[in-house]
């Protein structure tokens, strides 16, 4: 433990840790932490890669569900106090706390995933989920035989609505006649929708019964239930999210039904940031990892979307060159 009086001195002395023998990376995870096979894990991968290249060490702290602002603030402060630099806050919930802590430790470089913090020493690593989802929508529209697809969101928070908006637009731009069902599993501060495979399954089978045959779910582990339901219906496809779900051990049984996954390459963003600090030119401002920068992409494992590659590439090109603007709200 450290008393407050030491704070200032330690922060200034630790600011130099970035150079020389490797980097001391501080990772503040969102709930779930390393091993969540989603974006926390992806961030960890980026940090691991940086550590392997530049040497140094990684300190990981993980949020808990009952966290408040003060807890997140404290987590970042603890890392800064202990001399870690750079410090990455994984998840939008660190936005407010990072604003405060970054001001307190001006010589430390901070990075935040999925949100924007307006400070000179913060790198805001954001992703264009809507663009990736747009491509997922294109794939869904091209693969549906019944002209009916579905979207399942875990909780109706803005981040997930981005997925829905991009997906719907992608579907309709490709085939206007295709019907899109949308369903959220829980609402507001009830986050159970991210951890209820049974509800994901019920929602997916409801959509399948109503005639949908491609289902895109952005619902954390609830998506597993949706994939399972899809697996039970011949000719139906599931689209996964965040990481390449085709390769997740827990879903190996259903991999034949996983058309593709909308992958968010958090690792790239984190790696870039750590590298910039290591190189002595820390990234700051908003770094939007868009489709153009390969921040989001569609996974090709399984080869199920190889046949529509040309259409997907065309759509991607249009987004990259700006002729298609993807909405962020449905």
């Amino acid at each position: 433990g450290s008393t407050s009086s030491e704070n200032d001195s330690s922060s200034s002395s630790s600011a130099s840790a970035g150079g020389g023998s490797g980097v001391k990376i501080g990772l503040a995870f969102d709930v779930g932490g390393r091993g969540d096979r989603s974006f926390n894990d992806s961030a960890a991968r980026g940090a691991d890669k940086a550590k392997a290249e530049f040497g140094g060490s990684i300190k990981e702290l993980t949020a808990k569900t009952s966290d408040t602002e003060a807890d997140r603030e404290q987590r970042l402060t603890d890392l800064a106090d202990a001399g870690y630099n750079p410090i990455v806050g994984v998840g939008f919930s660190y936005a407010a706390s990072m604003t405060k802590v970054a001001a307190k430790y001006p010589k430390v470089s901070f990075g935040i995933v999925d949100s924007v913090v307006d400070a000179k020493n913060v790198d805001s690593i954001t992703f264009t989920e809507e663009q990736g989802s747009y491509l997922a929508g294109v794939a869904a529209a091209l693969k549906t035989k019944k002209n009916h697809v579905g979207f399942i969101g875990g909780v109706d928070v803005p981040l997930i609505k981005k997925f829905e908006a991009g997906f719907t637009q992608g579907v309709h731009d490709t085939k206007p006649a295709v019907k899109v069902d949308s369903q959220y599993l829980s609402h507001g501060s009830d986050f159970s929708g991210f951890a209820s495979p049974d509800k994901g399954k019920a929602a997916a089978s409801g959509m399948l019964d109503n005639g949908a045959d491609v289902i895109y779910s952005a619902a954390g582990s609830s998506g597993n239930g949706a994939i399972e339901a899809v697996n039970g219906v011949k000719g139906a496809w599931a689209i996964g999210v965040d990481s390449d779900q085709y390769n997740i051990p827990g879903l190996a049984k259903y991999k034949a039904s996983i058309l593709t996954s909308m992958v968010k390459n958090v690792d790239v963003g984190v790696y870039d940031f750590v590298k910039s600090v290591h190189d002595g030119k820390p990234l700051t401002g908003v770094n939007n990892y868009s489709l153009a920068k390969n921040g989001v992409s569609l996974a090709t494992s399984g080869g199920f979307i190889d046949d529509i590659k040309t259409q997907l590439d065309a759509a991607k090109q249009k987004i990259v060159d700006g002729s298609i603007k993807v909405k962020t709200t449905p």
Binding site: G1, S2, T3, S4, S5, N7, D8, K59, L61, T62, K64, T65, S66, D67, T68, E69, A70, D71, Q74, R75, D78, A82, F92, S93, A95, A96, D114, S115, V116, D118, S124, T126, D156, V157, P158, L159, K162, H187, G188, S189, D190, T328, T329
Partner: protein
């Protein structure tokens, strides 16, 4: 002289201290065993918790946390004193904080008008939401345990519906956080800057006032006496002239009003807006804290501080290579030990008292000629 000694009953005092002590020692032993079982050193963990928890910035953190928890504990305790189990504190404070934040964001009047208005609005919302459960109980006989659980979920749905861009909220930059209009600077509650240790929330003053009011109303007023009477025996209360139904509804409303305050330290001192990451679940923490504190205003304060201390220090444990999930284990064990210890001590105390009454009577019976000396 004799009266004095009988009032300040040493034995009772001793028993009062014994219960929490017994509980905390047991909890420590259990926790130590759990840590040992994972092959780590519990001693080092405890000493890290102590040193880290006693740092001045930790103390500010703990006080701030305890402010919120204290209000939650009192809100729950008001129900408990009536034998009412208000699980709905959680929904009540969230809805209250939301409505108050909307109002606060819309107000453009000076702070000395706005702040009381925001607080009153929060209390009124919490009270109203609790009143539903209270009224359902007295008019339709619906158990408040069930109705408040349902109302928690319904409150969540209402907030989810209204906290959306275009309704009562807007999307923040970054596109991931929705929140209500931020409060104007003038509507911030005062804070005490302790320098490097951090900023102490001014709302702690309100929490202390609530505690004093709780103690005073329950212990010193007619209303408080009636309330406690209902809590101890509904039948006796009815016979003594208390309208139990009115009392149930009233105390539910008061509990809800205090619950409305729970979100205020965060809103007025910290976040200044209600967003989709506003802390939730504090109502349930309040239950644990009210249990720890035996519904006693000072006890609840100690419970709230203990909770804050545990949360602060277990977070740091992760830094030292321990699993911070140990927090849940410690909290669970402490609550369980405390309730059992209190029960054991209560029983022992009652038995002692009966024995004393019996002994005294026997002594009187043995010397029937002597003039009785009672009291």
């Amino acid at each position: 002289m004799k009266k004095l000694t009988s009032r300040i009953d040493k034995e009772r005092l001793l028993l009062g201290v014994a219960a929490p002590l017994l509980a905390i020692v047991t909890a420590l032993v259990v926790t130590a065993l759990v840590i040992l079982a994972t092959g780590k050193n519990p001693g080092a963990a405890f000493s890290d918790m102590l040193t880290y928890g006693s740092a001045s910035d930790s103390q500010v953190y703990i006080l701030n946390k305890a402010t919120t928890y204290y209000l939650a504990g009192v809100a729950v305790a008001i129900g408990f004193r009536m034998n009412l189990f208000n699980i709905g504190v959680d929904g009540q404070y969230r809805l209250a904080a939301f409505v108050a934040a909307v109002l606060g964001g819309a107000l453009t009047v000076p702070g000395w008008i706005a702040i009381p208005l925001i607080i009153l609005c929060a209390m009124a919302t919490g009270a109203l939401w609790a009143a539903i459960a209270g009224i359902l109980k007295v008019t339709r006989g619906v158990s408040e345990v069930i109705s408040t659980i349902m109302l928690n979920s319904i409150a969540t749905a209402i907030i989810a519906y209204l906290l959306q861009p275009g309704k009562l909220a807007e999307l923040q930059s970054g596109g991931t956080v929705v929140s209500t209009d931020p409060l104007p600077k003038s509507s911030y509650f005062f804070t005490i800057d302790t320098g490097a240790a951090g900023v102490l929330w001014g709302f702690i003053v309100v929490a202390v006032l609530v505690g004093i009011a709780y103690w005073f109303v329950l212990g010193r007023t007619r209303f408080g006496f009636d309330l406690r009477t209902v809590g101890q025996s509904e039948s006796a209360a009815t016979a003594s002239g208390v309208s139990v139904k009115k009392m149930v509804a009233t105390s539910m409303i008061i509990s809800g009003a205090v619950a409305g305050l729970i979100g205020m330290p965060t809103l007025l001192n910290d976040s200044h807006q209600f967003s989709n990451d506003f802390p939730s679940g504090i109502g349930f923490t309040g239950i644990a804290i009210a249990l720890l504190g035996r519904n006693n205003p000072v006890g609840i304060a100690l419970g709230a501080l203990l909770w804050g201390f545990l949360e602060r220090t277990t977070n740091h444990l992760e830094f030292e290579g321990y699993d911070k999930e140990i927090l849940g284990v410690i909290q669970g064990v402490i609550v369980l030990c405390v309730v059992i210890a209190y029960e054991l001590v209560r029983r022992y105390g009652l038995k002692r008292q009966q024995q004393r009454v019996g002994a005294e009577l026997a002594a009187q019976a043995a010397a029937p000629t002597q003039k009785q000396e009672v009291a």
